[in-house]
Symmetry: C2
Subunit: 246 residues, 2 copies
DNA sequence: CGCGATATTGACCTGAGTCAATATACGTGG
DNA sequence: CCACGTATATTGACTCAGGTCAATATCGCG
């Protein structure tokens, strides 16, 4: 029934398991919270970060483990998940370059409440929580920036709560696609292309539903030419339509 | 059918629309993030806070308004809500003495994303966001403490997301009651008493369900002597049972 | 004591979950 | 570069938790 579609994935998918060393400074100084610092301070901070590459699917840390490091995504995409007893995972977020995760507060719960897994090949920079706290004590404006980011994340989580409480599955999937589009989309002739290997099951767990339902909703949208998708990509053709659902 | 129950509400319900002025210092210096500061610093900070009383039901601020103040609950309970188009509110949290709300970050979104309403008579202390940020720049350890609190809130919101995605209504209501018990419960012979005027509709919006369903679930639990409740109080008799549902 | 707001309960309905059979996309090796 | 095999996606049939609507009962206030 569905017409043959050309995959828009080029062969310019360069897995970067290893961070390009020259990029480290660039990435760190581009972080919203380090940006205002002097180059010299950043290079001192840079020395405290450790880099590490992961294959797609590798676990960066697991829920319940001792939480003692803060990570920054240098390249690739990382997914954060919570598990439930009966193996039903909930994906909380998917993080792109420049976003941080892991433990800031060595204080409160000293174990990671979520699992972090590489969704694509990933390179991270990481630092011990205590070293990071020392940096924040030394640079109060940086601490304020970090707080701003956390406030934004909290808003987003609360927005998710609202959606799960009050919106239909269709509305939630629309919201997830729009959000992914903003985070990882590239504008092309065919619409906004999201080049991420997200299975129906991944999307389902982001939207709080099941793979089968996700598939049904997305098939209907393909019929209506709202979106197009393959197994490792999604293109949003009619953004306005998705936005209008909310 | 239900046996006549004695209300456990004494007449010691003292509405404190106005903060007791002597309590201000005590409340502020008891805040987890000011606690380590010298008495002298706290008293300087104290002078920057403004106090204000509200009747139950009063709005402290509404979603969408310009966000420029940070509030601390000095007395009473405050509920935070998000609204949806079709008037279906979602209660994000209910805050007790010593918890803060409002805007920390003057930076990102400059309007409140949620509405804050007095659930009981309430007294707040508030400060402009920018003054608060100035305090944080001056006292970096305080900033770290605030970050810890924010991290804990974020965890809680993400936990809520997980529950809404993966748990049944019954499990979620159990969780809400347990959480309220921890936050506002007093241990009595009858069990843990929550003396808060929460309607079925309030509970429903905390658990992401409807008043009718909440009523059904709670009626069943009353039959089984797991809880008891009146219109302005709930007592948890069998905490273990509720915990076991998760 | 009586009234209005809130809660309870029943009857009914439907969105979305489950399970399972089939089809399709993409990576691999020939 | 094509063909094949496997993991993933699609789709249908069925079920049911929980939503909706509405009638009735209760609480606690004035």
């Amino acid at each position: 029934m569905t017409a043959r579609r050309e995959s828009p994935l080029g062969d310019d998918w360069i897995p970067t398991h290893q961070c390009n060393t020259e990029l480290r400074m660039e990435i760190l100084s581009d972080l919203p919270f380090f940006r205002p610092l002097a180059q010299e301070a950043i290079s001192r901070i840079n020395r405290q970060f450790v880099e590490r590459g992961y294959e797609a699917g590798d676990f960066i840390y697991m829920a319940g483990r001792k939480a003692q490091r803060l990570f920054v995504v240098a390249d690739g995409y990382v997914k954060l998940m919570r598990h439930t007893l009966r193996g039903k995972d909930v994906m909380l977020d998917i993080l792109a370059q420049g976003e941080f995760f892991g433990s800031i507060a060595s204080a409160n719960s000293d174990s990671y409440p979520e699992t972090a897994q590489a969704q694509t090949p990933v390179c991270t920079l990481s630092i011990s929580s205590s070293a990071f706290r020392a940096i924040l004590e030394e640079h109060p404006t940086t601490a304020l920036k970090v707080m701003d980011t956390m406030a934004a994340r909290l808003q987003e989580a609360q927005e998710m709560v609202r959606q799960l409480s009050a919106y239909s599955v269709e509305q939630r999937i629309a919201h997830v696609l729009l959000r992914l589009g903003n985070k990882a989309g590239e504008d092309r002739e065919m619409g906004r292309l999201i080049r991420l290997p997200l299975s129906r099951s991944d999307l389902a767990s982001l939207a709080g539903t099941t793979p089968a339902t996700t598939s049904r909703v997305m098939s209907a949208w393909q019929e209506q030419e709202v979106i197009q998708s393959g197994r490792k990509w999604i293109a949003i053709q009619d953004q306005a339509f998705l936005s209008s659902l909310e």
